[in-house]
């Protein structure tokens, strides 16, 4: 229990609050277009981030009376009256909450705190945190089984689903899930839990071209009673799998996902060469799982995230985070399409941009970066969390229009960082709205994919996507160090090679750069709370910093780990040839990458050819050009890696 962290704030003055809320709602109703960002004022500031709410996920109480709003940036759950939208209370949780789920009875609300590696259990009557349980690294999705005996938690960094005792929070086991396990859904009968993941799984078969294969993902199906994985539904060519919904009768499932086209040059956006954004539908109504596109001709559905299926299975609703809209899909028409059309051998219609016209019936503009969805039990009101607007759109599902926009109390001004974050997450600047920064930097991190970014030919200069953490003041940028600063990286380079459409204006580019510069490093999970190193980490540090090899021979300064990977970020910011050039590389000289949270970002080397940290030295360092390592025993190499994980 962590009562000291608990904050319950029921705001008084209901009448004045209602009046105030009505005024706000009236104002919002007069917006010309809800998907336009709020105009920034001249008081925008850089360097500090006001306490925005950033609503990410939504949940409705079983009785339909309450709307729970998970506010990621203010580290709290806000509780609204689901009819009047008045604020009933606020409950503080841990740092950077990411997932939320109600118990079946609605008496407890579970919230994952992704930066604290904890789960907060909230008593929904008292609106207090009654327990805080430690879980594995970067907990994200959460569900409780119907019996109230187990809680399942998807952990993004440890790529597993932890099974906790629902009463004590004690971990019973961890089930292997997909890489970057993040979202969980319980079937309507409570018998199955479905887990999805945001990074592609490592290739099952190690080959020399593993970094040039289409990504593979999965839906991990867990028997909720047995707490074991019973099936893995393969998602071919998919990387970035988000929310999943199961129909009330259990016969139809749908999952939102990215279909990257990383084997062709990304710069060929005009040929549709970046992403398809799709749903995979599955279940008894479908038969063999089928991938259907959400994109339209000339208008993509960039970065689908949340999915719900109407209780009567008439519609499927999907938030499109980068396109600032919600798609309404006619489920019977979708099923007819799936059954009537000749099915490709791949099971995917992703390439068919005419397909969505058969089942997408509305594209409803909402606020910035729409994420979580919740549907009222009668299916008439659809709530949408607009993360970067601090609003919730209420969609009337009969008219398929936004009927109300709920403004969450928060800063009235837009900060530079907030505007930059909006620019980061939107796809509006790219050709046909195909991609935004966050298409590849999922949640401002990375995607685990190797891309062909250069326009100089297929398969030339393959690069591994780097994580965006603590990258400020770390010039030059790009693997080949060609970009002298972040404005160049985000501006001309991105506009010319990626967006192929609209340039940023100066202010937007500044905002974006400020946002990217502000991205912090996530907490390192391999460091001990005391700050001390384990014996293995200590031994590894000595190897990292050594100047003499095991035979007593001095190691040339340029061949020591600590030379190229110097400084607090583990980079000298200089370029080196460490013997990793491949036949497909134009040059063998690359910038020493920073080591911040290096353990999270497999694969490694500039082209992602090293599947693990070990392979950097066991496979790709035959001549000791990438540091003197071939004198090390296996134990010592393991120690070195244990140390690197603490960086």
């Amino acid at each position: 229990m962590n009562g000291s962290r608990t904050k319950c704030c029921v705001r008084g003055g209901a009448v004045s609050w209602l009046a105030c809320g009505a005024a706000v709602l009236a104002g919002l109703a007069m917006w010309p277009a809800v998907n336009r960002p709020v105009l920034a004022d001249t008081e925008a500031t850089a360097g500090t981030q006001p306490d925005y709410a950033s609503p990410l996920e939504l949940a409705i109480s079983p009785d339909g009376a309450r709307l729970y709003v998970l506010c990621q940036q203010s580290d709290e759950v806000r509780v609204l009256d689901a009819r009047t939208y008045a604020v009933l209370g606020r409950v503080s949780v841990g740092r950077v909450p990411r997932g939320m789920a109600l118990s079946r009875a609605g008496d407890r609300l579970f919230v994952t705190n992704s930066w604290d590696d904890t789960v907060s259990a909230i008593d929904t009557r008292a609106l207090t945190v009654v327990a805080t349980w430690h879980v594995a690294a970067e907990p994200s999705g959460v569900v409780e089984d119907f019996a109230g005996e187990r809680i399942f938690v998807a952990n993004r960094i440890s790529s597993d689903v932890a099974v906790l005792d629902a009463k004590t929070g004690e971990e019973q086991q961890r089930l292997m899930a997909g890489r970057g396990a993040s979202y969980l859904t319980l079937s309507a009968d409570g018998k199955r839990a479905y887990a999805t993941h945001v990074y592609p799984n490592p290739p099952e078969v190690a080959t020399s071209a593993a970094n040039r294969t289409a990504p593979e993902s999965e839906i991990t199906v867990i028997d909720a009673q047995d707490a074991k994985v019973v099936e893995r539904v393969p998602l071919h060519s998919i990387a970035g799998v988000f929310h999943l919904a199961i129909s009330a009768d259990g016969r139809l499932g749908a999952v939102a996902e990215f279909h990257p086209k990383n084997l062709v040059p990304l710069a060929h956006l005009e040929h549709g060469g970046a992403f398809a954004y799709t749903l995979t539908v599955f279940g008894a109504d479908v038969g063999k799982p089928v991938e259907v596109p959400l994109d339209e001709l000339e208008r993509y559905a960039s970065q689908p995230f949340g999915v719900v299926i109407a209780p009567d299975k008439s519609r499927i609703y999907v938030t499109i985070a980068g396109s600032e809209c919600v798609l309404a899909i006619d489920a019977p028409r979708l099923l007819r399409f799936v059954h009537d059309r000749p099915r490709p051998a791949s099971g995917s219609y992703a390439r068919d941009l005419s397909a969505s016209a058969n089942y997408v019936v509305a594209r409803i503009p909402v606020g910035h970066n729409p994420r979580g969805l919740a549907l009222s039990s009668d299916g008439r009101r659809l709530f949408v969390a607009n993360r970067l607007d601090d609003t919730i759109s209420v969609i009337d599902t009969r008219s398929l229009r936004v009927s109300t926009t709920i403004a969450l109390a928060g800063p009235a001004t837009m900060s530079i960082l907030r505007r930059g974050e909006q620019a980061f997450y939107t796809a509006r600047y790219s050709f046909q709205g195909q991609i935004g920064c966050s298409s590849c930097h999922i949640d401002s991190t990375f995607d685990g994919i190797q891309w062909n970014l250069e326009p100089n030919g297929f398969g030339i200069d393959i690069v591994d996507n780097k994580v965006l953490e603590d990258i400020k003041d770390n010039a030059p940028y790009k693997w080949n160090g060609a970009n002298p600063n972040i404005p160049t990286e985000c501006g001309p380079r991105t506009e010319k090679y990626f967006w192929r459409s609209e340039n940023y204006d100066d202010r937007t580019l500044t905002d974006l750069v400020m946002y990217v510069r502000s991205l912090p490093a996530r907490p390192n999970r391999w460091r001990q709370p005391s700050g001390d190193f384990t014996p293995a980490q200590e031994r590894g540090q000595a190897i990292f910093e050594r100047a003499v090899d095991k035979f007593g021979k001095p190691i040339p300064i340029g061949n020591r780990c600590s030379y190229c990977h110097s400084g607090p970020k583990g980079t000298s910011q200089k370029l080196f040839d460490v013997g990793t050039r491949k036949l497909t590389d134009s040059s063998g000289i690359f910038k020493a990458p920073q080591l911040t949270n290096i353990a999270l970002t497999a694969p490694y080397l500039h082209d992602g050819s090293a599947a693990t940290l070990e392979e950097i030295w066991t496979v790709f360092n035959p001549d000791d050009k990438h540091g003197r390592t071939n004198d090390l025993t296996k134990d010592e190499l393991n120690d070195l890696i244990e140390y690197l994980r603490t960086r």
């Binding site: 019973q172 099952e204 893995r232 353990a599 025993t633 296996k634 190499l637």
Partner: protein, 377 residues
Amino acid sequence: MMRRVIRDWIVVTLIFAGTAAGSFAQERKLGGIRAPSAAPPVPRFRFENFTTANGLPSDHVFSVLVDRDRVWAGTENGLAVYENRAWKIYTTKEGLAHRAVLSLALDKRTGDVWAGTMGGLSRVSAGRIESYTQLNSGLSNNVVYGVSVEGENVWVATASGACRLNLHTGQWSLYNERNTPMREIWVYGVSATATKVYFAVWGSGLLEYDQKTARWDIYDDPDNETELVLFKDQGLIHDIVSSVSYVDSIVWASTYFGNSRYDGRYWHNFLTKDSGLPSNFTNVVKGVDANHAWFCTDKGLAYYDGANWAVYRPSLTTGKPEMLVRDAEGRTSKVPVSTAPAHNYILNIDFQGSDIWVATAKGLSHGILEQHFVATK
């Protein structure tokens, strides 16, 4: 699981005690064959054998593992799982580290199966395979002779020392001649529990790791003779240890020159000359509990119930199915049987309720418990 196995065997033993008495009474009525009091209550099986003819990817079966209704077989040409009367095969195409699967272990909490192969360690989880090799991970060597799962740790016996993978941290810890009393680093087997972990080391005896104190101890052959047994029951029977099984605080260890049982204070050794073992050359011993164990030898499969022995095999001379029984007084008898394990060379065994599954050099055998027991001259 182990409790279930123990319970099943207690039940089996009681059943046999009962049915044996009944059978002997019936035999007497029918004219009788042999004094019933001499007949030990050991189980008799009907064996059904699986080979490439009915679905196995290879007849050379190194390891077998039972997980409820599933039976996993590690063969020279892939990992096979038998479920709903059909075999499914996993090979390197599905991500298996190597086609030759030497050892298997079940993570009872998750249902994941860990397969030690000649090319690394593979984790099979609901059809998905992740493989760890000496190049892509901290695994000490690709030849994985043994594997055992305990809590969040996977303990691995390799041709170059032992190691432990912590599934929560991803850390590999290596154990070899540099940080343990291990004189040789050819580790053939491992048996891990929350309190103790035992390693069978070829040429270096038995190693014990205390989980609480992180201390190592070594048990080796006190007479230090490779061909002779000078100090019987004074310690481990031989330094060339091929497997170890730690159950109910009892260590069962097999060597190529006999077997040993150690209760923490006393040793008891088993040799062909003074037990029912068909051969001293033993590939694997698997303890059921403190008093019951199975021995996989090059001359058949042996069962020991603390007093009596039974051997199951094709006859070494005729090849016909054979079951030999040796009671506590050393009296031997033959039990008429019509089936036997697929081959004399036994490599592994696991239990499915009262049934057994046996890995042999020429197929996998399913021993289905029969309720009747008849002893003959």
